[in-house]
Every structure is written in structure tokens, then in C-alpha cells.
């Protein structure tokens, strides 16, 4: 915004008081620095819900299938976020993934028989690591590995399995489909729906699932029938 200073001579107005070039430079530099720091703050604050400055310790967990898990996904116990995924690597020897969990320092009493699973928040939601605390007296120390893990559930594979599986699998799918048809729109965070997905439920959004029980169970009457 470099324009010539047309300061009319002889005015006593406060705004046109001539100022030293040093002061102008100082104010300009200060404004530039504060703007730059605001931009950095804005970028940094959108970068992860947990924040870099919180003290945390690391735990490891091995999974055979990660699904859609990515770094900075939340780690939750019973729906409460206690940390985030800080790193994902592949073990070149055993070919399963090693996920590093950064847990908040407030939660240092996680039993060593805690199990970790990769759950989804809602049908289309993001993946997160859900911990199910065990009952052991001993607690995990920083850097230790969780022994019990469950891989992510691949919904498409399950649909395929039930479409061509038939029998009791088809009935369970029909019951689950009827229960799911009244669920909330996928925009909401629903860990309950995510848990159900892990225990054999076919998503109601796919019309193929409605056809699956019909083709899989031709004449056996199912105890929970879908809407006639």
C-alpha cells in the first residue's frame, strides 16, 4: 500500500502529525509479525484435536488390519477421548502394523489386559481406536505393547460373506437390517452403531442387503422378519 504521503502543510490535526520513519517501520514490522504469528496459530490449532503440548506417554498395539485408521485418529475408552494415534508403521518381519498410541498423562492406570479394537464412529464416520479396559491389577508402562487386539472390520467383506453365506447368517442380517433402518442419519457420531458393525450387522443403506436374506433363506421362517 505504498502511496505518497500528501500531508498538507500547516494543519494541526492530530492525524496528520508527521511521524518519524523509524516509528512507522517499527509499527509495520510489529503488525507483520503479529499477522504471521496469528496465521501460524491458526494453522497449528486446526492440526489435531489433542494438541502437541499436552503431556502424553506412548503405548503400542499390533493389528492385522487397520481399515481406515490414520495418524491423529482419536483413542477412546467408552467414548471418551484419552489420546490419539501418533504413528503407524509396518513390521517388516511379521507383516502386521504397529500403531503407536499417545495417551494423556492423566490416564496412567490402564491394565495390561486391556484390549484394543478399531471401531468406526457411525457408518461413514472416521476410524478410531477403542480400548476395552481389562481387570488386571498391573498397569501398562510407557512403551509397552497391548496384548489383545482386534483388527478392523471390513463391512464390504462382511456383506459379501452374508450374501453368499446363507442360513443363520442371513437371518441375523435381516434382523440387524430392520433394527438399523430407524437409526439416525450418518452425519452423527454413533459409537454404538460402530460397535454393532463389529458384531455382524449389515448396513441399511445398501439395497443389496435387503435382497440377500430373501435369496439366502428361501423358505425358513426367520424369527425377526423385515417389514412386510
Amino acid at each position: 500500500m505504498a502511496s505518497s504521503d500528501s500531508r498538507p502543510a500547516g494543519t494541526r490535526a492530530a492525524a496528520s502529525r508527521p511521524r518519524g520513519p523509524g516509528l512507522e517501520f517499527a509499527v509495520g514490522a510489529f503488525l507483520l509479525l503479529s499477522l504471521a504469528s496469528l496465521l501460524v496459530l491458526a494453522v497449528a490449532s486446526t492440526n489435531g484435536k489433542f494438541g502437541f503440548s499436552r503431556d502424553s506417554y506412548d503405548l503400542k498395539a499390533r493389528f492385522t488390519n487397520l481399515g481406515q485408521l490414520r495418524p491423529m485418529a482419536p483413542v477412546k475408552i467408552g467414548g471418551v477421548t484419552i489420546g490419539q494415534v501418533s504413528g503407524i508403521t509396518l513390521d517388516p518381519v511379521k507383516f502386521d502394523s504397529i500403531v503407536t498410541l499417545a495417551i494423556d498423562n492423566r490416564y496412567r492406570e490402564i491394565p495390561i489386559d486391556t484390549s484394543a479394537g478399531i471401531l468406526t464412529g457411525g457408518l461413514l464416520g472416521e476410524s478410531y481406536v477403542g480400548l476395552q479396559p481389562g481387570g488386571d491389577v498391573e498397569v501398562l508402562k510407557p512403551g509397552e505393547e497391548l496384548v489383545y487386539t482386534q483388527p478392523a472390520v471390513d463391512l464390504i467383506q462382511m456383506v459379501g460373506k452374508y450374501m453368499f453365506g446363507g442360513g443363520a447368517g442371513g437371518d441375523a442380517a435381516a434382523g440387524g437390517g430392520a433394527a438399523d433402518s430407524g437409526s439416525a442419519p450418518p452425519a452423527g457420531d454413533a459409537p454404538a452403531a460402530g460397535d454393532e458393525a463389529a458384531t455382524a450387522t449389515v448396513p441399511s443403506a445398501s439395497p443389496a442387503a435387503a435382497d440377500a436374506p430373501a435369496s439366502a433363506t428361501p423358505d425358513s421362517p426367520s424369527p425377526t422378519e423385515p417389514t412386510p
Binding site: 500500500m1 505504498a2 502511496s3 505518497s4 504521503d5 500528501s6 498538507p8 500547516g10 494543519t11 494541526r12 490535526a13 492530530a14 492525524a15 496528520s16 511521524r19 520513519p21 516509528l23 512507522e24 517501520f25 517499527a26 509499527v27 509495520g28 514490522a29 510489529f30 503488525l31 507483520l32 499477522l35 496469528l38 496465521l39 496459530l41 491458526a42 494453522v43 490449532s45 486446526t46 484435536k49 461413514l124 442419519p185 450418518p186 452425519a187 443403506a205
Partner: protein
């Protein structure tokens, strides 16, 4: 560097505008006049702009959500996208184009016709008389213009969604109500609009006030005001969104 010095001058000018804002009766007369000139007379462009933004947003959202079978949830897009981002930014940009350029042109013309010098010679602070009312008028009117933008956009969106595209009327309004919260969406939007209005007015006033006292100087000032104010509005939009919406 010359650019940093100009930034410093602009900062010092902004400080003097704030210092010169004293609530005298004369100030309120000028304020009222400026509110009419830059607020009320911006209504047509804001209203029409809002209507068309609502129409296109609904159409786009409907088509995009069809793949997920969620096309009657279009109001979520309208509610969140409009209230949080589109309304403050677009209103501010339209305001910069219409009112910002007029502020810069008026002040540049006052400089070119020596009115500012005359005010100074009479012992009246030209910043208090000419610039401060415009600044405060902008800060007050841009949030109100944003609200009008939103209401026209919502009406147009309702028309497009319910009458043309066939979304159910009750669903439209219910989903909109569920997706928008007063404290989390309205208030930050108004805060953003106030900041944008103040920024636009300060930039336009600075460039107009310090324009070269020639015809060419006035037109250069007008152009520069619109460009710089638009860029600053977009930059502050990012910063404020990051800080307000977590």
C-alpha cells in the same frame, strides 16, 4: 522496506481513527448518515447476491448428496456452510466492492478538492469528522447486512429445495434447525462480519485519505482499496475460522 513502512503507517492511521472516535452529537449525526450511505444503500446487492448464493448452494448440495442418498439433508450444508463461512465472507466482499470503493472514492475526492485541508485549517480533526463515522458505521452495518444475506439465501434455498427439487418442507426446516446452533454459529458469524467490516473501512479510509490529490490518485485509491481490503478479509476469515470453530 517501503512496504513495511506503509503497513506501519496504516496501523498508525487505524490507531488514530480509534482515538478520534468520541461520542459527540455531531459524531452521531455523521454516523447515521454513513449508516444510510454504506449500509442501507448496499441492501439491493446483498439481497440479490444472497438469493443467488442460496439457489446455487442448494442445487449443488442436492446433487452432491444424491450419491449418499442423503439429498434431503441439504439444509445441513446451507446451515453450516452459509452461517459459518459463506455469509460473512461474501457479504464482506460485496460490501468491500460497493461500500469500500465508495468510502475510498469519497475520501480521495475530499482530499483532491482540499476539503480535508479546509477542515484542518478550521481546527476540526478530519479523521474524527470524516473517517471515524465511516469506520463505526461499517462495524455496525456489516453484521446486519450478513443477517440479511443469510435470510435471503435461506428463502431462496427453501424455494429451490422444496418447490423445485422436491425436498419435503418439514424435513428442510427441521434439519436446518438441528444443524445450526445460535451460540456456535450465529455469534461467531456476526463477530467475523464486524471484524471484516472494520477492516474494510480502515483499509478504504486509509487509502482514500492518503490518496494523491488528483483525479488519477482517486481512482488508484479506489482500486487499491478494493484489492487490499478483499485480501485482508480473506486472510482474517481463515484466522478467525480457525480460532472460532474447533
Amino acid at each position: 522496506m517501503e512496504a513495511i513502512r506503509s503497513l506501519g503507517r496504516a496501523g498508525l492511521f487505524s490507531l488514530s481513527v480509534l482515538r478520534a472516535s468520541t461520542p459527540t452529537a455531531d459524531f452521531f449525526t455523521e454516523l447515521l448518515r454513513e449508516i444510510y450511505k454504506i449500509g442501507a444503500r448496499s441492501l439491493p446487492i446483498i439481497a440479490v447476491g444472497g438469493a443467488f448464493v442460496g439457489l446455487s448452494l442448494t442445487l449443488l448440495g442436492f446433487r452432491a448428496l444424491e450419491t449418499y442418498g442423503a439429498s434431503n439433508q441439504v439444509s445441513v450444508l446451507i446451515g453450516l456452510g452459509l452461517y459459518r463461512e459463506l455469509a460473512p465472507v461474501l457479504t464482506a466482499l460485496l460490501f468491500v466492492g460497493r461500500a469500500g470503493s465508495s468510502i475510498a472514492a469519497e475520501l480521495g475526492l475530499m482530499r483532491a478538492t482540499d476539503q480535508i485541508t479546509a477542515l484542518g485549517l478550521m481546527g476540526i480533526d478530519p479523521v474524527a469528522k470524516a473517517v471515524a463515522p465511516r469506520f463505526w458505521a461499517a462495524v455496525l452495518t456489516v453484521p446486519l447486512l450478513t443477517a440479511i444475506f443469510v435470510s435471503f439465501a435461506l428463502t431462496a434455498s427453501w424455494f429451490e429445495g422444496v418447490q423445485v427439487l422436491g425436498i419435503e418442507n418439514g424435513t428442510f426446516w427441521q434439519v436446518l434447525r438441528d444443524s445450526v446452533d445460535f451460540r456456535d454459529d450465529f455469534l461467531p458469524a456476526f463477530l467475523k462480519s464486524a471484524v471484516f467490516g472494520g477492516t474494510a473501512a480502515l483499509v478504504a479510509s486509509y487509502v482514500g485519505y492518503h490518496a494523491e490529490p488528483t483525479i488519477e490518485g482517486t481512482s488508484i485509491a479506489t482500486t487499491r482499496a478494493v484489492v487490499n481490503a478483499s485480501l485482508l478479509v480473506l486472510m482474517f476469515n481463515f484466522i478467525l475460522s480457525a480460532m472460532l470453530f474447533r
